[in-house]
């Protein structure tokens, strides 16, 4: 057993994956609770399509003679898209999921057309789907540490405001809370977490890190704080377990993490059901 862990941690790429992954998983889980409640569960998927569209735009602009690194066009645009999406509140006429569908479909289509009309595209939609959690560089590690420290601190500092604004924005605004600012804050944190997470480990994994822990925690907890805490714990645990299993059974890393999350979700659903029916039986 000890031997196994020794081997596991002897590979730098695994150590990096575990560090980066756990930290991003932590941030994603914290923000995930709000995202799921605000009907943004599919935001990871949606943004990956925006990423594809904007990259082709970057390449297209290049072909027109503008010398920009495609990434320098794409990254800000994806953040802007995330930001715009997340400012949609419960009161807007277009709901979160519809807005995601709208933006993701449009970017994909625009991307396909730009690519067809300019140089052709060498960036695949699928590149955004499956990242490479195992290919972290040193910089990625620092970036993820910085990111998660910032997200964590801001989240804890503004936890109560975030709760108030998510639960009932009208009341919060009426009693003088600057709901706009906190919405923007959550939006920004989420945008950055998702965009960075997506680039580092692919849309599939970051999408799942956002929704699974929150949904799992909601199966058994009925208050906001326990949900938040449990989902953070679950997220990191599942990530680590997934990586271990991937190493043990040589399964794809990201997918393994997702499957572990799925299993835990099923277990907790069952648990929730049992606890419920305990009374009526």
């Amino acid at each position: 057993m000890l031997d196994f862990f020794q081997e596991f941690f002897s590979y730098t790429f695994i150590v990096r994956a575990v560090i980066v992954g756990s930290l991003v998983a932590l941030c994603a889980a914290l923000l995930g609770v709000s995202l799921v409640l605000k009907r943004f569960s599919m935001i990871g998927d949606g943004l990956s399509h925006v990423g594809f569209g904007t990259i082709t735009l970057g390449i297209g602009l290049n072909a027109l003679g503008l010398n920009l690194a495609p990434l320098s066009v794409s990254l800000p645009l994806v953040i802007i898209a995330a930001f715009l999406l997340l400012r949609i509140s419960e009161n807007s006429k277009i709901k979160g999921d519809a807005a995601i569908a709208l933006i993701s479909g449009s970017s994909l289509a625009i991307g396909v057309i730009i690519a067809a009309k300019t140089t052709g595209m060498n960036t695949d939609v699928c590149n955004y789907m499956f990242g490479s959690i195992l290919a972290m560089k040193k910089d990625d590690v620092y970036l993820s540490i910085a990111l998660s420290v910032v997200v964590l601190i801001l989240f804890i500092l503004f936890y109560h405001k975030i709760f108030a604004v998510t639960f009932d924005e009208a009341f919060a605004r009426a009693t003088g809370t600057k709901a706009g600012i906190y919405n923007m804050l959550v939006a920004l944190l989420t945008a950055v977490t998702i965009v960075i997470g997506m680039r580092m480990m692919g849309a599939l994994l970051i999408s799942s890190l956002i929704i699974f822990p929150a949904l799992t925690a909601m199966r058994v907890c009925k208050s906001f704080r326990p949900v938040t805490i449990l989902s953070a714990i679950l997220s990191v645990t599942c990530f680590f377990t997934g990586m271990l299993l991937s190493f043990l059974y040589s399964t794809p890393a990201g997918a393994s993490v997702v499957v572990v999350n799925l299993i835990v979700f099923c277990l907790f659903s069952l648990l929730g059901k049992i606890r419920k029916s305990g009374a009526t039986i």
Binding site: L37, E90, I156, L157, F158, Y159, H160, K161, F163, A164, F167, D168, A170, F171, A172, R173, A174, T175, G176, T177, M218, C221, K222, S223, F224, R225, P226, V227
Partner: protein, 235 residues
């Protein structure tokens, strides 16, 4: 001292005018009751005062009072069926603007929340999930939250809706005490005119345009006042 002045306020939705040229003022310690038919613009007026919706013309001036010192009970609160929030968390969120820059709630805020829960007879529900409550219980929780947020002014949009008679009576007493002893000004929208006539010192009747603004006794002498109270006076 005048806390709030509303001058020639007009509000419209799309092409529909909901309020036109409404003027009134609330002084320190006032107990203002806003009455009117369904759809006459009462909630719209409340929302305009609290800057939840934009106005078309006219001014609203707060004087010596910040928005963080106002408590608010909305007429309708649509809470998502799946929102995990305990009753205590909801009530505590009313203390948000009391805690100032401190990121966490102190003992004082928690004690206040517990006190309001007890006052409204829902202390036992403290750890229940908000979404699992009965309609009247939810209304009481939101009331407790509003009471927590209140420091100088409380704005209530049909607060007794869905409350049982016993709690209704208690609530009126609570608000009266808040108003009388603690000097907190009250703005209340209510269809239960009988219930507030005793306590209120001002009545505003709107019907898109203002119909009446003055004291309860004067109101009862107007024909519209008679009609709204069914021609009978209470107490």
């Amino acid at each position: 001292m005048t806390l709030l002045t509303c001058d020639k306020l007009s509000v419209s939705y799309n092409r529909i005018t909901a309020l036109k040229n409404v003027s009134f003022h609330v002084d320190d310690g006032d107990y203002l009751c806003i009455v009117g038919e369904n759809g006459s613009g009462k909630s719209t007026l409340i929302k305009a005062i609290l800057q939840l919706i934009g106005t078309e013309s006219g001014t609203i001036t707060l004087n010596g009072i910040r928005q963080t010192e106002i408590g608010y009970l909305p007429q309708q609160t649509v809470v998502q069926k799946d929102f995990p929030a305990s009753v205590f968390e909801v009530v505590l969120s009313g203390c948000l603007n009391r805690k100032g820059r401190n990121p966490f709630y102190g003992k004082a805020e928690k004690a206040l929340a517990l006190e309001k829960l007890a006052e409204l007879g829902i202390a036992t529900l403290k750890n229940k999930s908000y979404r699992d409550l009965s309609g009247g219980q939810q209304q009481r929780v939101l009331l407790a939250r509003a009471l927590c947020a209140t420091r100088k002014l409380i704005v209530l949009d049909e607060p007794v809706t869905g409350l049982d008679p016993l709690v209704t009576t208690e609530l009126y007493a609570t608000i009266k005490e808040l108003n009388g002893k603690q000097g907190i000004a009250v703005i209340m929208v209510s269809h239960d005119i009988q219930g507030v006539l005793e306590s209120a010192n001002k009545i505003l009747h709107v019907n898109v345009e203002p119909v009446f603004f003055g004291s309860p006794s004067d109101y009862l002498n107007t024909s519209v006042g008679q009609r709204m109270t069914g021609g009978t006076t209470h107490a």
